[in-house]
Amino acid sequence: MKKEDLPQDPSALVGVTREVCYVKDKDGKYTSDLSIGWDVKKQALDNAWEDINERITEAAAKVKSGEISPVFYFMEKKLMDLPLLSGYTGFWQWTIKRHFKPSVFKSLSQSRLQTYAKAFDISVDELKNFNG
């Protein structure tokens, strides 16, 4: 890539940083330059977020209709999956899956709620009272 072809498309980096890219200068030698972003990359990231937000909205609807517990919703919201949530809580994956059931969730002990709240970086009240 030539230096003058380095894309400068505003992206999520704006106001935070610019990124270093290796490009060819006019003598055909490598040099580095800074870029504020590239549309193709921005679009890929935006698409990924669209997908994530869809999943979060779906999860919220399921909590509202009583199909699933807030643990599932916050797992999606915090971009986690079962292995990751298991890592943060120390609970087995199948235990967490059980906690997805609203009936089981209602009977969770304060200490387990506390563990989840800490993993999600929210308060126990927020976790308990989330209703979609």
């Binding site: 935070v16 890219c21 290796y22 490598y30 990359k41 990231l45 997908d51 971009l79």
Partner: protein
């Protein structure tokens, strides 16, 4: 410890691990070190497509070698030892980092980016192989030189523990590292190291058995792409392509970026060794990098929803096969190169 600022020069690089490694070696007196040289000496260039493994709901591809390997491999070639510590206890990890700062030793830390407050929100996924340098402490906050940032930044003690103890794949476990026993490197030693590193990259890209690693892995991805649309439906297949682009051009750098970095390395290697052949092969990697970017643009047309026919997917796959052919030929030449 109220205020302790170690004399460390912040450098910004395309890739975090290169940046930390380059910065720390410069700090220890190896002024000649540059990011491309570090990347090349560490045999950072790679490709792998891991089947059955999903990352953020998409295919798991990587355009570079395992996190941590670049620094370790480059150091070994230069006769440097990298001292690495991981911890089970947060308290121990906290004390150890503070002690290193008090000893006047700027250190590299492996961290997760999800809780990194200065990162743009859109980039904060649960990715655990980010690297930064801690070079001091002031008003209870760590002074941080993060190589993907233009300037230095800070992290509170609480945030630092959070990112050092992020969980999940590649969990850092408080990982702290720094080079030890750094001695001046002679020109001859550096030349030898360059050839060794080039041969190792050629091995990684050409000779690892199985279809998923090295140049073969690029062909493997191409074969997968040809099947995606029928197997997953147009929408999901588009998202998968998006993931490939995202992995290719993540924050810092990616597929295209890494190829340019390797091109820059070969250019510098040619200057250091006087071998003109390396300079002409540098151009092949520039070509490969340009094609990676062209392929990202093409994939972009699909995940933006402008195109979504099977023939568009086939075209993407063909482009990857073309890239594989160029990289294969270049590494075959590199494999033959002699001192």
């Amino acid at each position: 410890m109220d205020k302790l600022i170690l004399p460390y020069n912040h450098i910004q690089t395309a890739h975090c691990e290169n940046g930390v490694a380059t910065g720390l070696l410069k700090h220890h007196g190896l002024d000649f070190m540059t990011e491309p040289l570090m990347f090349g000496l560490g045999s950072g260039i790679f490709y792998i497509h891991i089947p059955f493994l999903m990352v953020n709901g998409g295919p798991a591809v990587s355009y570079r070698s395992m996190p941590g390997w670049i620094f370790s491999r480059a150091s070994k070639l230069l006769g440097i030892k990298v001292n690495r510590r991981k911890f089970n206890s947060e308290k121990e990890a906290y004390d150890y980092l503070n002690k290193q700062i008090q000893l006047g030793n700027p250190v590299g830390c492996q961290v997760g980016v999800y809780n990194l407050p200065y990162f743009p929100a859109e980039y904060r996924f649960h990715f655990n192989a980010h690297n930064l340098v801690v070079y001091g402490k002031e008003n209870g906050s760590y002074l941080v030189s993060d190589p993907v940032m233009e300037t230095v930044t800070t992290l509170t003690e609480e945030d630092m523990l959070k990112v050092r103890f992020a969980k999940g794949p590649l969990a850092p476990k408080g990982h702290v590292y720094y080079p030890e026993n750094v001695k001046p490197v002679s020109k001859e030693q550096l030349q030898k190291a360059i050839y060794k590193a080039i041969h190792r990259s050629a091995f990684d890209m050409l000779s690892i058995p199985g279809p998923i690693a090295g140049v073969d892995g690029i062909n493997y991805t191409a074969r997968q792409i040809r099947k995606w649309r029928d197997k997953l439906g147009p929408r999901k297949a588009g998202l998968y392509l998006g993931q490939i682009v995202r992995m290719q051009e993540e924050i810092g750098t990616g597929g295209g970026g890494f190829r340019f970095l390797y091109g820059a390395f070969l250019e510098q290697a040619s200057e250091i060794t006087g071998n003109q052949k390396l300079l002409s092969l540098s151009d092949e990697f520039t070509k490969a990098g340009d094609l990676w970017r062209a392929s990202a643009i093409n994939m972009g047309r699909i995940f933006k929803g402008r195109l979504n026919e099977q023939k568009d997917f086939l075209e993407c796959a063909d482009m990857l096969d073309n890239i594989a052919a160029i990289e294969r030929a270049a590494f075959k030449e590199l494999r033959k190169i002699k001192m």
